[in-house]
């Protein structure tokens, strides 16, 4: 798998139908603007190799992403804020 940049990660995540939280994420610029995503019922099952993102450290703005057998951690405070909002975390 190619090395993931933040931009390519979002691209990959968005392309994976039904992937974890970030699959529904709009482009980061949009996220930074603060718009909320639309909550829906899943329209498909979990893909065979889901791309998964989880907030590792809120204070440091760290997000870890797993895709295939690759795991990478990013500092992206805007993404962390958006994930927290999507998860209903105050």
């Amino acid at each position: 798998m190619e090395r993931l940049s933040r931009r390519s990660f979002v691209k990959v995540a968005g392309a994976a139908t039904g992937a974890a939280a970030l699959a529904a994420a709009p482009p980061l610029a949009h996220a930074a603007a603060g718009d909320d995503a639309e909550e829906i019922h899943p329209t498909a099952g979990v893909p065979e190799e889901p791309v998964v993102a989880y907030v590792r450290d809120v204070e440091r703005g760290e997000v870890t992403v797993t895709a295939g057998t690759v795991e990478r951690t990013y500092r992206d405070r805007a993404l962390v804020r958006r994930l927290l909002r999507a998860g209903g975390v105050k």
């Binding site: 974890a20 099952g45 979990v46 190799e49 889901p50 791309v51 998964v52 295939g68 057998t69 795991e71």
Partner: protein, 464 residues
Amino acid sequence: MSSHREAPAVSQDPVADNADTYAFVSPDDPTTVTIITNYVPLEGPPGGPNFFEFGDDVLYSIYVDNDGDALPEITYQFRFHTTYQNPNTFLYNTGPIGSLADPNWNKRQLYSVSVIRSRASGKTQSHAKDGKGTVLAGNLACPPCNVGPRSTPNYAGLAAAAVHQLPSGETVFAGQRSDGFFVDLGAIFDLGDIRPIQNLHLIPTPASPSVDPLKSMNVHAIAIKVPISKLTKDGSVPSDPMSAIAVLGIWGGASRRKVQVRDGASVKESGPWVQVSRLGNPLFNEVIVPVGHKDRWNALDPIQDAEFVQYVKQPELAKLLPVLYPGAFPNLKGLTADRADLEAILLTGIPSGVIPGFQNFTGKAPADMLRLNVAVPPAKSPNALGVVGGDFAGFPNGRRVFDDVVSIELKAVAGATYPLVAPSYTPDAAIAAVSSYLTPSSDRYQSTFPYLGVPHDGYDTPSS
């Protein structure tokens, strides 16, 4: 036990629980080494209808270090997948299973074998290639579990058919076998009791014979027989036991994907492989490492074992024995120095000059690995006490399936091997009484690959 349910996390995950690791020069094929890693400890033979099997979601690894740096130059990895002939029945088999292709055998498991060869170096073990090795063979059949006389009337034949010769020169087997490990489990975990000397215990009870609860239990074994020339650093078959090239470091491990996502009845996975179990020397994590550190130990690699050296230097069990058997171990009670003998046996190998004609030293870096000197030929009259019993072909020179590792390690921890590094030390006389007091029956093992015996069948075991 050796490493059966030895740590809190993996005790909840039997298919990934590396219960025993064995490595020895094959007695019937001495140009080869056989390595066995056992999983699914304490299998009760009648455990149907979903009889025991390997984990389809587990990556099983056998690591070989051939240059003494505690990093693997050769890694064999095994992946399993389960198939059903008929998902519309609750039965494991719908009639007698006469062959590995018999349509009566409903739930079956196949596996692949791959190898990673690398020039490992540095201070950490890379797992970047885990699961991505060169595939040596795929869709290899495991045998069924030994159900009973109606379902598996010729079990030995089924198991023999599941021994596969690979084009690359290795021989493999993966499936149910009789557990070769033996220990009086019920006694040893009842505050360190040793039957039949429980009358000498701090809380005495009348003397009675030792009991072996594992004699009727099965495990799932992954066994591989490899030409020695494929394992040594220079491709040679060493004949000089004093040569460093003759010593291999060997251990097993099991890994799971980092993330699991449950979706109804299915589970999907993502992320790198993460080690959840490992094992080199028997009883290392079980008896040496404190319970609060056992899960971490399983997650680390041998090259990271420096943080556990303190528990080898000052083993808890050596302090317990004089307390549990009052007056029996006065010299051990007074032995407060670091246990360099145990460090050598468990963490570095025994250097040359300690035991005439023998060494299995891999360097000063402490690492829990079995250390096998492949230049030591198989013993013609094996002694289950291995090196302690004068048989250099047995534990701690690798480990054979029948080695009495409980007696060997109990005696060592009790001080029997301390004179190797401190000749003035006199071991306590009570060491003679420290033993497993068990002699497994001969059908527990077999003389040919995979060396562990035919598993107990579920119909006849237990017999009442």
